[in-house]
């Protein structure tokens, strides 16, 4: 089985936000929730500005899963970190633990108004049966079950955002780095996948 990973090439991202829009449309994500976002660092500083598209990095040793009081997370055979909204109680702890700010909460409940957590699924749906209306309504698209990769990366115009088998995207990225002649801008890679070498 493949080990699915995201990789954002900070040297290529042009902050067009198309990945954000594609994600929202493909998964019909509700208002106020962004499973993916583009963050611009050193905005406006000549030569220093870099944009990075960030979502759930599907960590090897996922902090969200570690701190969840009801243990609602699971890792698929493709190493995608998913969770069950039937089990989630919307406590917000995964948001405190996540290094990437991936978990999102709809304003539903009382007080702080956290409904059940929502996050990037690597376009792999959820625990429901693959590509059922129920799965789509609760978790969004399941492109992996259709043999496709996440839409955000598939339609990235500069191919800054890569998604797929870790070995393949690492090879693509290494080739770019070699061609450029200078180092890596693979954001969050070492945090999310601490046991993988290189890149």
């Amino acid at each position: 089985m493949a080990r699915m990973k995201f990789l954002c090439d900070a040297e290529r991202c042009i902050e067009c936000n198309a990945c954000v829009t594609a994600c929202k449309n493909e998964n019909e994500v509700p208002w106020g929730i962004n499973r993916r976002r583009v963050v611009t660092l050193n905005d406006g500083e000549m030569g220093k500005e870099r944009s990075i598209s960030m979502a759930c990095m599907h960590c090897t040793d996922a902090p969200c899963a570690a701190v969840c009081p009801v243990d609602c997370f699971y890792t698929t055979a493709d190493a995608v970190v998913l969770h069950s909204k039937d089990l989630c109680i919307g406590c917000g702890y995964c948001f405190y633990a996540c290094p990437f700010g991936a978990p999102q909460y709809p304003q539903l409940g009382n007080f702080g108004g956290r409904g059940k957590m929502d996050k990037c699924t690597f376009c792999a749906g959820g625990p429901e049966e693959d590509n059922t209306p129920l799965e789509y309504a609760v978790y969004g698209a399941n492109r992996l079950a259709e043999g496709k990769l996440p839409l955000c990366a598939e339609m990235c115009s500069t191919k800054a955002l890569l998604a797929g088998d870790g070995e393949i995207i690492a090879a693509i990225y290494k080739e770019r780095v070699v061609t450029r002649g200078y180092g890596s801008g693979a954001w969050g890679w070492s945090t999310a996948y601490p046991d993988s070498q290189g890149v």
Binding site: A10, E15, N17, V20, G32, N34, R37, V38, V39, T40, L41, N42, D43, G47, K48, R50, I52, M54, P63, A66, V67, C68, P69, V70, D71, C72, S84, D86, L87, C88, I89, G90, C91, G92, Y93, F95, Y96, A97, C98, P99, F100, G101, N110, F111, G112, R114, K174, V177, V178, R180, G181, Y182, G183, S184, G185, W187, G188, T191, G198, V199
Partner: protein
């Protein structure tokens, strides 16, 4: 093959130039390594250094949620280590240790009887409002403690027993109860503070009481007013720790309204959980001494009427004061009229 030819060439060179040349030659084809090919740009080095730092890395986003501008917050790892590692140990040692001490104490000392037995005569210790404040706080605290401990320990202790669906349903209901019962709990603490604070000012008597073993350890009784040193300790624990727990709880309940960032939420959660578990440990001792630990003690918060002998043994100064007040009220000589 070109590479094979190259290798043969190198072998020949190695024979001629020695071991050093061999090593250098072999290193050449492996140079397709990322690190060897190029040096990171200065801008990139700077960004990577920022990433290594302890603080969160924040940029700019074009979506309305400005918290999303934090790209990476490394503190999540420390909070995770605390929540899954340190916190259960603090709670386990505090609460488990307290239970062990209480059990041991009960086995050694047994139930502490009223000295001289019950007199049959009672005086009013807590009126209706006092008891309302106590039980309002107590009942809400018990539910808050159970639902809170469920969040801390339920995944390891309860989830394997009842399964994920039942556990999630229980935890979900528990979360709602935890949120709503914070209000009566806070009200109860405020009421108790107003009602009892004047009798809970620490004094020299408390030190003497403590030195005499508080009537719990040993048999000697020190003088005590309405509240003895131990009760004052419970009072201030409940008011101060309970107050801090309530305050941090409301911060957690309205996320990102009082504190702006994830780091603040993490700190608040840590303070909330540790103080709560310590207060549970304190309250375990309070429940013990107020129920099975001491004869006659429960009456104070049960009916509100305590036996005169119990009052004189544990709160002699207060009992005297009450009797003096009653005598003034009736205008009679001491001992002429019974309390009722």
């Amino acid at each position: 093959m070109a590479s094979k030819d190259g290798y043969m060439t190198m072998l020949r060179r190695c024979l001629a130039l020695g071991l050093l040349a061999l090593l250098l030659g072999l290193a050449q084809p492996a140079a397709a390594q990322v690190q060897d090919q190029g040096r990171p740009s200065d801008a990139e080095l700077q960004l990577m250094q920022e990433l290594q730092g302890q603080g969160p890395l924040t940029g700019r986003v074009s979506i309305p949620d400005q918290r999303a501008a934090t790209l990476i917050q490394p503190a999540g790892k420390e909070w995770r280590d605390f929540w899954r590692g340190t916190s259960p140990w603090i709670g386990g040692i505090a609460m488990g240790g307290m239970l062990a001490i209480l059990l041991l104490f009960f086995l050694i000392r047994g139930r502490i009887p009223i000295e001289g037995g019950r007199s049959g005569e009672t005086i009013t210790r807590f009126n209706g409002l006092d008891r309302f404040a106590h039980w309002l706080t107590a009942t809400s605290f018990i539910v808050l403690a159970i639902t809170g401990l469920n969040i801390a320990f339920g995944r390891d202790l309860l989830l394997p027993l009842i399964g994920p669906e039942a556990f999630s349903a229980f935890s979900d209901a528990g979360k709602v109860a935890h949120n709503f019962l914070s209000f009566p709990f806070t009200l109860g603490i405020l009421l108790m503070l107003v009602l009892w604070v004047r009798d809970n000012i620490p004094s020299r008597l408390d030190l003497e009481w403590l030195a005499a073993g508080g009537g719990i350890i040993g048999h000697g009784h020190a003088h005590a007013g309405r509240f003895n040193g131990g009760q004052k300790a419970i009072f201030w624990s409940v008011v101060l720790m309970g107050g801090a727990i309530a305050a941090t709880g409301y911060v957690l309940m309205f996320p990102f309204t009082v504190v702006a960032d994830v780091g603040g939420m993490q700190t608040t959660q840590m303070v909330h959980s540790v103080l709560s578990m310590l207060l549970v440990a304190v309250i375990l001792a309070h429940i013990y001494i107020g129920s099975i630990g001491m004869e006659g003690a429960f009456d104070a918060m049960g009916s509100g009427e305590v036996d005169l002998n119990w009052a004189e043994a544990h709160h002699d100064l207060w009992a005297e004061e009450i009797r003096a007040r009653e005598q003034r009220a009736t205008g009679e000589a001491p001992g002429a009229v019974p309390a009722e």
